[in-house]
């Protein structure tokens, strides 16, 4: 999925509601291994690894946006 498809300009209720059904069939489940990715820290602008958040304990990750 390219950036302009992912970042929709117009919210589509039917399409986005469908994502909730897809989430139930999502391959990542409890007890499985979480994938690691690089991410940008907003405050430092540095690239960090997601896996470093859980390396020494638990991490609670909330996904979201302003809107």
């Amino acid at each position: 999925m390219v950036a302009h498809e992912y970042n929709y300009a117009v919210f589509n209720l039917r399409a986005e509601m469908g994502k909730f059904t897809e989430f139930q069939d999502h391959s990542l489940h409890a007890a499985r291994e979480a994938p690691d990715f690089p991410l940008e820290d907003l405050d430092t602008c540095q690239t960090v690894r997601l896996k470093d958040r859980w390396s020494d304990g638990l991490v609670v990750i909330e996904f979201g946006s302003f809107t």
């Binding site: 950036a3 117009v10 989430f23 907003l42 405050d43 960090v48 991490v59 909330e62 946006s65 302003f66």
Partner: protein, 151 residues
């Protein structure tokens, strides 16, 4: 979530906010066309809601968001060795704290009490406040309201 993050910070629990695409773009907060758009919105979010947690930005293609299920406000709890302890389609601080306590207890006791993990699932419920939601959409811009509710 901020209050919960502060309560558990001393127990080796990190809490982060992973910034995704705009769920309900409107005239005031449009969809991201660059990482600078995303940074700008994330800073506004940080200031508006007083976020003290670390905010991590996904890339413009939403790579991490897509890998984890692409819902607008999920919460996941991941433990040592990258094991997924909890995933939820929505963010409910009460439910998350319940799961967190359970995981912390198990991690502390697992060696001594010879605990073994197993997978389980449950159905959860959340309240609806259409007036509050509509007002929140209106802050994003009129388009956000009409996109969701129609003209």
């Amino acid at each position: 979530m901020e209050q919960m993050a502060a309560r558990y910070a001393h127990r080796s629990v990190r809490s982060v906010f992973l910034y995704t695409r705009e769920a309900h773009p409107g005239e005031s907060y449009r969809h991201h066309t660059s990482m600078e758009d995303k940074r700008h919105h994330a800073r506004a979010f940080q200031a508006e809601f007083g976020i003290k947690r670390q905010i991590l930005l996904d890339d413009l293609e939403g790579t991490v968001h897509r890998a984890y299920g692409m819902l607008p406000n999920m919460t996941w709890i991941i433990g040592p060795d990258a094991v997924i302890h909890y995933k939820a389609a929505w963010t409910d601080p009460v439910d998350i704290e319940d799961a967190l306590r359970c995981s912390l207890d198990a991690l502390e006791r697992r060696m001594k009490d010879k605990l073994l993990p197993y997978h389980s699932e449950r159905l959860k419920w959340r309240g609806r406040d259409d007036d509050k939601f509509r007002a929140r959409l209106a802050k994003n811009g009129p388009q956000a309201v009409t996109d969701f509710y129609g003209s």
